[in-house]
């Protein structure tokens, strides 16, 4: 509901944060500026009113997303502009340090485009805005404009960092006085972590330089905050079902993919049968979605989690899903995702099975109403019944699918039915 701050960085040091025309309601497309409470050059504190607007639905005030000084006013009084248009820009104090804490909006709202630039002036930056920064990689390489460190980066180091979306403030420097050398940043590029998928966080908080030991890092705090918020928002329940994945295992071996795309495909089919789980719940507003925008959690190792979204996943085959998953995972790890690729999910799958764990209680990715956990596929002796009803013991590849679901939006019966459909789908591959 609040403005989504976007940020541009002017060449040099100042960070400019946008104040945009908010969307006061789903159907509202534009608003009119009624009065400016601040002028260019005025100091403004975060949440302080910047201007008053009027829309079809409501007249309201637009708060500043950050503290700083008003640098530009772009829209005059009585001008009517579309939602999202930049009304003003605020120059953020570089000494103000910490970004204001997350504003509670669970939706992963990516703000800056993580466009890698070749030049030394980067364009993307973590949002210091109300919404926690998106799942975008920690900034294309920039001279760390925080007051905290006065590190300077050479042109080639900046260029490589920008090309790969690497945050230079976390790169250890082995050069003189600890400066980052070309090989230091190259080492980070080359060592793409082969990390398993974990419970994801939709937020991409600012990493801090190493050496802040003793306390939780900012990233951890933000992940923690999000997880807590989710737990406090949804009425979490988790249901499990055992699935015989033997057929999936042979099918996937033939295709040369992992089990995940098969699961994804089955999830999509099951969601078609049980659309109530392909929905968002924000406060009391419940929306079922026609399209399945499937989020796939990707671990970024020390750097946290991210959930790239396969839009219109329902249109893809297993192979198509496999390809998309591979591509998104790779670009997630190289910090090359676009904002559109980390928002708008309607259902999430998390797949941390590499280490052999068999069950978990995943936390729902707000504002969705369910999340599916795929753990390890383990060979077990199971009872199989043949067509004549004879039982025998066979070795089958088994997994336990866990579904955490929001009891505000649905009941256990529905969750169970969904899991049953899923099981059917996977066992008849």
């Amino acid at each position: 509901m609040s403005s989504s701050p976007t940020e541009t960085r002017a060449p040099g040091a100042t960070t400019l944060v946008d104040v945009t025309m908010p969307q006061m309601g789903v159907s509202v497309a534009e608003g009119t500026v009624v009065a400016w409470a601040k002028q260019v050059g005025d100091r403004v504190e975060a949440d302080e009113t910047v201007c008053e607007i009027s829309t079809d639905k409501i007249d309201t005030e637009v708060p500043a997303p950050v503290s700083g000084v008003v640098a530009e006013i772009l829209v005059g009084v009585d001008a009517t502009v579309e939602v999202g248009v930049v009304l003003a820009r605020i120059a953020v104090d570089s000494a103000s340090g910490e970004l204001p804490g997350g504003g509670g909006a669970a939706a992963p709202t990516p703000t800056a485009a993580p466009t890698p630039t070749a030049g030394p002036a980067p364009t993307a930056a973590p949002t210091p805005g109300a919404a926690p920064p998106p799942h975008v990689a920690p900034v294309s390489g920039a001279p760390a404009v925080n007051g905290a460190s006065h590190r300077r980066y050479s042109p080639v180091v900046q260029r490589i960092a920008a090309e790969h979306g690497i945050d230079l403030s976390v790169v250890p420097g082995t050069g003189r006085g600890g400066r980052v050398r070309k090989q230091d940043v190259l080492a980070l590029v080359e060592a793409a972590p082969e990390a398993p998928m974990h419970i994801e966080s939709p937020y991409r908080p600012d990493p801090v330089p190493a050496g802040s030991g003793g306390q939780l890092s900012r990233m951890r705090r933000q992940i923690g905050a999000h997880m807590k918020r989710s737990l406090e928002t949804s009425a979490h329940c988790t249901s499990w079902i055992e699935v015989d994945m033997t057929r999936v295992q042979s099918a996937r071996a033939r295709l040369g993919v992992t089990a995940l795309p098969f699961v994804a495909s089955a999830v999509i089919a099951a969601l078609r049968e049980h659309p109530q789980l392909n929905a968002s719940l924000e406060g009391e507003r419940y929306t079922q979605h026609a399209a399945v925008n499937l989020g796939i959690a990707v671990s970024l190792g020390e750097d946290g989690l991210i959930v790239p979204v396969i839009r219109a996943a329902h249109e893809l085959s297993v192979e198509g899903l496999a390809t998309r998953i591979r591509d998104l995972a790779k670009r997630a790890r190289t910090r090359a995702l676009t904002p559109d690729e980390v928002r708008g999910g309607t259902f999430t799958i998390t797949n941390p099975g590499q280490y052999g764990t068999i069950m978990a209680t995943p936390i729902i990715n707000q504002p969705q109403v369910a999340i599916l956990d795929l753990e390890a596929i383990v060979k077990r002796p199971v009872v199989v019944t043949d067509a004549d009803g004879n039982d025998s013991i066979a070795i089958r590849a088994m997994t336990i699918l866990g579904l955490s679901w929001d009891h505000r939006a649905l009941d256990g019966a529905l969750a169970a039915q969904f899991l049953a459909s899923l099981k059917r789908g996977l066992e008849s591959v």
Binding site: G119, S154, V156, Q158, Q183
Partner: protein, 321 residues
């Protein structure tokens, strides 16, 4: 393929050209009967006679000026300045008459001026200079500076074939100290740079005798992979090769045996700063002779000419930056 010294390679080029092209003749002081101060032209007089191997009066301005005259009526004079230092006496003819003629009058001046350059043997201020920068700065003159025997022959052929005035910087220190395989017959070495040793952590850019100093200094600097780029040609300057080395190595040390201010290396540094900025991981470092006349006494001369130790130290520091 025969092995020969840098000096023999130059002689070989002169001999092959005199044999192949009747327009070619060599001229200079003491080069004929005496065979030249350094014996580069030894034996040529006997083979080709005074009409092709001319002992001139002691008159550098006239050597260049008459060469221009001979060139514009169809000959290919190869002048020798006994020491590169003495080109100052012929500066006017080279820069104002030869260098500007094609631009002004559309009249090509195909002369080659051989300039025995460089120090390291107590030659003192007037027998040790590296004056190439004066002519890099003069429009219309090409400047080449080989560091190997093979390049010395090939570049001399190229220079003689070139329709423009070409300064051929032959380094006296390399005359007998450098040997190499040299192809027989006439071949042309292009006026481009050459990677003397490929590397990735740092590049040392040098030409002439400094290439050998660079190679020796960077054989093992804490195991780093150090590239050595031999410029070979100063005008035209191979900016593509220079920027390619910078792109790969990101750290640059540029060597000049010439006095530092406005030497060839200064031009290379400017080129890199403007066009290779985004590939740099450190400042562009120069190792050059300070702005002093080259002194005579060995400890003084050693102190000013770039040494293996100085280059190695510069590389070490830059690698660690």
């Amino acid at each position: 393929m025969p092995t020969m010294t840098y000096l023999q390679a130059i002689s070989s080029a002169l001999r092959d050209e005199l044999r192949a092209d009747e327009r070619v003749f060599v001229m200079g002081e003491d080069i004929g009967v005496f065979g030249g101060a350094f014996k580069v032209t030894d034996g040529l007089f006997e083979e080709f006679g005074p009409g092709r191997v001319m002992d001139t009066p002691l008159a550098e301005s006239a050597i260049i000026g008459t060469a221009v005259g001979a060139a514009v009526v169809g000959m290919r004079p190869v002048c020798e300045m006994q020491f590169s230092d003495f080109i100052s006496c012929g500066f006017d003819q080279l820069v104002n008459v030869a260098g500007k003629m094609n631009y002004r009058q559309g009249l090509a001046v195909p002369i080659t001026v051989r300039l025995p350059s460089g120090g390291g043997f107590s030659g003192g201020p007037f027998h040790s200079q590296n004056p190439e920068a004066w002519f890099m700065h003069s429009p219309g003159i090409k400047v080449v500076a080989p560091s190997t025997a093979e390049d010395a022959k090939g570049l001399l052929h190229t220079a003689i074939h070139d329709p423009n005035p070409v300064c051929f910087m032959e380094h006296k220190h390399l005359y007998r100290r450098i040997k190499g395989d040299v192809p027989s017959g006439i071949y042309e070495t292009p006026m481009t740079a050459r990677v003397a040793r490929a590397g990735s952590d740092l590049v040392v850019i040098a030409y002439g005798a400094m290439v050998h100093v660079a190679l020796e200094a960077t054989e093992d600097v804490d195991g780093a992979s150090i590239e050595v780029l031999d410029l070979r040609s100063l005008v035209p300057l191979d900016s593509d090769a220079i920027l390619d080395s910078v792109a790969r190595c990101s750290k640059v040390v540029i060597m000049d045996e010439a006095n530092a201010t406005c030497a060839a290396g200064a031009q290379v540094a400017a080129l890199i700063a403007e066009h290779g900025f985004e590939d740099l991981d450190g400042p562009v470092v120069r190792v050059a002779t300070p702005d002093v006349p080259i002194p005579f006494s060995p400890p003084l001369e050693q102190a000013v000419l770039p040494s293996v130790e100085r280059v190695r130290e510069a590389c070490r520091e830059l690698l660690a930056y």
